[in-house]
């Protein structure tokens, strides 16, 4: 029971911190002081206290978008084991639901963007659905490799791997899948080199342009949901990248927190040293991710 409470608490509280860490890392690279680590929390609190502005064009879809996105992300978060903690919800086949919850979130985010009738938001949602067509195969190939390696269709068992640890032939496929998943993570959470969350030009954005019209608490919900999405996908990746556990709950939890903060530092570093890819080159990167994962699958089944 304690473990479940810890899981839910981590899932609800920790995610915005990732954005704080990324911001701090980027500030450090740029030689600035940067906003405080807890800035995303302050932002959320501030947004919750504001009133909302709605475009006259919008309908219920516009309001449903953030709400559905957040609930899908939260439920997905309940199915993923965080570090050595088992997930509170686990059943055979939950990995499919996990992937499709993000599909549901995408349906609503993009529809809400189209609801405004703005050409820019339409552009953003078109890009979002296009790139998803390329990340989805990569994600499923990764899941296939992990399912084959662990012999389970339950995310908890699948990500924790077999009890005796992955066999030695698994290292190469896992490295490939890890690289593929990292690219998927960057694409799905709209980070550089796929999307630049800080750009000021609407024409070049993907995720940020879709939420231009959201304001106040609804915008807060969007920010919160996207931080949860990064947290959840990040913890999936961590299982592949650092499959270590000690067996002691508190040590494992702190290890997990350290790992996920390290991951955000890594993302921040990438954002600082790389430029965003040209929009027409993004598919190459995503296809490459799919290829890496399929090499991993090939290595397993050949």
């Amino acid at each position: 029971m304690t473990e479940k409470i810890i899981h839910v608490a981590l899932l609800l509280i920790l995610p915005p911190l990732l954005f704080g860490v990324i911001g701090k890392t980027k500030a450090w690279f740029a030689g600035r002081v940067g906003p405080p680590l807890l800035q995303p929390y302050y932002d959320l609190i501030k947004l919750a206290r504001k009133s909302m502005v709605f475009s006259r064009t919008t309908t219920w879809v516009f309001r449903a978008g953030p709400v559905v996105t957040l609930s899908a992300a939260l439920i997905a978060g309940l199915m993923v084991p965080l570090g050595a903690l088992d997930s509170p919800i686990a059943f055979t086949g939950d990995l499919i639901l996990f992937a499709y919850l993000f599909g549901l979130a995408r349906f609503f985010t993009t529809s809400a963007a189209l609801d405004t009738g703005s050409p820019f938001e339409g552009m953003g949602s078109a890009r979002e659905v296009t790139f998803a067509c390329l990340t989805e195969p990569a994600l499923f190939l990764a899941l296939l490799v992990l399912a084959k390696a662990s012999g389970s269709l339950m995310l908890t068992d699948l990500l924790h791997g077999p009890a005796e640890g992955f066999s030695s032939g698994m290292v190469a496929p896992l490295v490939l899948v890890g690289i593929g998943l990292f690219i998927v993570l960057l694409a799905e959470t709209c980070r550089i080199p796929v999307d630049d969350p800080n750009t000021h030009l609407e024409l070049t954005m993907i995720h940020e342009v879709m939420v231009l019209d959201h304001s106040g608490p609804l915008f807060g919900v969007i920010l919160y949901a996207s931080s949860i999405k990064m947290f959840v996908l990040g913890s999936v990746l961590l299982h592949v990248a650092f499959p270590f556990k000690t067996g002691e709950v508190w040590i494992d939890v702190s290890l997990f927190v350290l790992e996920i903060l390290f991951l955000s530092i890594l993302i921040g570093t990438i954002e600082s040293v790389m430029a965003r890819l040209q929009m027409r080159h993004v598919p190459y990167l995503l296809i490459a991710a799919t290829l890496f994962c399929s090499f991993g699958f090939l290595l397993l089944v050949r």
Binding site: V61, V67, S294
Partner: protein, 665 residues
């Protein structure tokens, strides 16, 4: 036994439901109402009949000799028939109710009686197809179905486009039927009768003969179901038929092709490994290409038609997995693959009928099928928008609606090919089909966000929709019922699993009974998760409402990124939304575009045109037909019109045959 008689009565009532209207004036409302009431009675009788069959244990069957050469009148209902009868007794009657307002006899006096007649005949013959157990009877019902669909879908035959679609359909369906003739001939050759039941003689069909029958089955029924590349007739016919006819054609008639494949594969007891694998590959190609074509369409109903092809692909993947399970002796693959395929048959008939009927209401309101001319309908038709959103989410296989349940079963089945079970090796390569399925899922989201977003959201793109309003109740009710069905199966999929299991048991008696669906795929978790998703979304919405200043909602214009005068025409259109995906798939879609040319300092007005024609039809089939039209007339030399010459031909053939015979001996 009573159940069978009830279903037979239902067949008769449905088939003749349109006839009484001919006794009344062509514009009379009463005639149309009588047809609908007869359809309703027939469907209720039929549904009661299958309910009775499910509650009983026996498999009712009925045989008697008849005067038609070969064969006999042989009908029976088993668990497989039940699955398909269920959709025959649901979608057409809802379509008929919808038709009361959509195709009013007062507005279409010239063809509403004809439509009613063939609509009923279509429903009745489809029901007959699923219960016929004799090759000849089956083909008669099959042909009645094909022909009545032709007459029902081409009621607006004064338009050239409709006629063209009708011809393509007729040719395609008859090529398919020819394959079925060949298939039944082989069947009779190897079993000695046209009887379609698993008997001692059908067990003996193996090796090449079984393979030949299987291939002819896939091609013959594939034409009807719309497996790529045999789908050529489908987009045109669906787009040009009245919407409730499209709903029945897509929701039910395509499934008769699936039924044919299911029936024949249940009779061929020893499938080989290449059967399942080839069906899997065909299914994956059909699915991905179908939905990619759908994204490229500008026509509301053509888009839906292509999406039907995609769903047929998903069903074929399920059947392929089940066939593999049958040949490799893996009961879990059989149950999951077959269960997923049949559940998807139901689901698709629910949400596709919903979408086609809604499309009809949209066309009614906007008088156009062009997606890019619509927009902003959610404000004018809020209820239809909600129902359409439900249909779209369901068809994208997203939780918590029914599409997810069937695809979830299919995914688990495919993932289970990774590892050995009960001493039988896995086939990990097969699992990679799930990647195609994932791609189909992502493309479907793109496709239906495009459709829903362009048609219902944003601001109206043309004058067309200015006077749109909510459709009348008789149009909204069938759509709402279908939507309720989507939600119900989506939340409580475990209710239908007994029907699926017993159908799987009928299909593969040796293996399927060993495993139940709930053992390998805990469907109740789908209910739990679907319920909690809805509750969580509700809770978040309530929390948001409770925030201090949430009630202060300020209205403003959409943020225009600094441009002062945004206009509806500047919105992203459906074509631009799908453009980047069309580019990604340009290697199969072969999009055609006429780009505007800009010359001189003051450019003249120019236009941009783009389209995604059907590659198979326009680039392959029609050129072949044109070639045939050009070169085959040379053969007319043989047609001299003189009796003597024809007798000479007979003589020559006779001599050749005799020579062949002697040489063979």
């Amino acid at each position: 036994m009573l159940s069978l008689w009830m279903v037979l009565a239902a067949v008769a009532i449905l088939a003749l439901s349109g006839a009484p209207a001919y006794l009344l004036a062509s514009h009379s409302k009463a005639g149309q109402r009588i047809s609908t009431i007869l359809m309703l009675i027939g469907s209720v009788v039929g549904l009661l009949g299958i309910a009775r069959k499910i509650s009983g244990v026996e498999t009712p069957s009925l045989q008697f000799e008849w005067q038609i050469p070969w064969g006999q009148f042989d009908v029976s209902i088993d668990s497989i028939s039940v699955i398909f009868l269920a959709i025959v007794f649901v979608a057409p009657v809802l379509g008929s109710i919808y038709g009361l307002s959509y195709w009013k006899s007062s507005e279409h006096p010239e063809n509403s009686r004809r439509l009613g007649l063939f609509f009923g005949l279509l429903a009745g013959s489809m029901a007959m197809v699923t219960i016929a157990r004799d090759g000849v009877l089956f083909l008669i019902a099959w042909e009645a179905m094909a022909i009545s669909a032709y007459f029902a879908s081409t009621v607006e035959e004064d338009s050239a486009e409709v006629r063209r679609a009708g011809y393509v359909y007729l040719v395609a369906t008859h090529v398919g039927t020819l394959c079925l003739f060949a298939m039944f001939a082989l069947w009779r050759h190897s079993t000695g009768s046209f009887e379609l039941s698993a008997s001692a003689s059908s067990f003996s069909i193996t090796g090449e003969m079984a393979g030949a029958i299987f291939i002819l089955t896939i091609i013959g029924f594939g034409f009807k179901a719309g497996l790529m590349p045999l789908h050529v007739w489908l987009p045109g016919a669906h787009a040009n038929a009245p919407s409730h006819v499209s709903a029945v054609m897509s929701g039910v008639m395509l499934k008769m092709g699936i039924y044919g494949i299911v029936r024949m594969t249940s009779l061929l007891v020893r499938p080989e490994i290449w059967w399942g694998s080839s069906l899997l590959i065909v299914g994956a190609i059909t699915g991905v290409a179908g939905i990619a074509f759908a994204i490229g369409q500008h026509d509301l109903k053509r888009l839906l038609a292509y999406s039907s092809i995609e769903n047929i692909g998903i069903i074929a993947i399920g059947l392929g997995l089940a066939l593999l399970g049958k040949s490799q002796n893996r009961p879990d693959w059989v149950v999951l693959g077959f269960g997923a395929a049949l559940l998807h048959v139901w689901n698709h008939s629910l949400f596709k009928s919903l979408l086609f009927l809604s499309a009809g209401s949209i066309i009614h309101a906007g008088h156009t099928r062009e997606i890019d001319k619509l927009g902003g309908l959610a404000k004018k038709m809020p209820r239809l928008a909600i129902l359409f959103a439900i249909g779209s989410i369901a068809i994208c296989a997203l939780p918590p609606f029914n599409g997810f349940a069937s695809e979830w079963l299919l995914y688990i089945g495919l993932f289970r090919t990774l590892s050995p079970d009960s001493g039988v090796e896995g086939l990990p390569v097969i699992a990679s089909v799930s990647v195609a399925l994932a791609m189909i899922g992502a493309l479907a989201v793109a496709c239906f966000v495009k459709l829903f977003g362009t048609v219902f959201l944003g601001t109206p793109r043309s004058e067309a929709t200015l006077h749109a309003h909510e459709p009348p109740k008789s149009m909204l009710l069938p759509i709402a019922l279908l939507g309720a069905g989507c939600a119900f199966i989506g939340i409580f999929p475990s209710i239908v699993s007994p029907a699926l299991e017993s159908a799987a048991g009928e299909w593969a008696p040796s293996s399927a009974s060993k495993v139940s669906i709930s053992e390998v795929a805990p469907l109740r978790w789908i209910s739990i998760m679907g319920g909690s998703l809805i509750c969580l979304a509700g809770a978040i919405a309530l929390i948001l409402k409770a925030l201090p200043r949430a009630s202060v909602a300020i209205e403003a214009g959409t943020w225009d990124c600094g441009y002062a005068r945004p206009a509806p025409r500047m919105q992203y259109t459906g074509s631009s939304f799908g453009g980047s995906i069309v580019d990604l798939f340009a290697f199969i879609l072969r999009p055609e575009a006429k780009k505007p040319s800009i010359e001189g300092a003051f450019a003249k007005p120019s236009s941009h045109k783009s389209s995604v024609p059907d590659t198979v039809l326009d680039k392959l089939v029609l050129p072949i037909f044109r070639m045939a039209g050009r070169y085959l007339p040379a053969l007319r030399v043989m047609q001299q019109g003189k009796t003597q010459i024809y007798v000479l031909y007979i003589l020559i053939i006779l001599i050749v045959l005799l020579l062949l015979e002697t040489m063979g001996a």
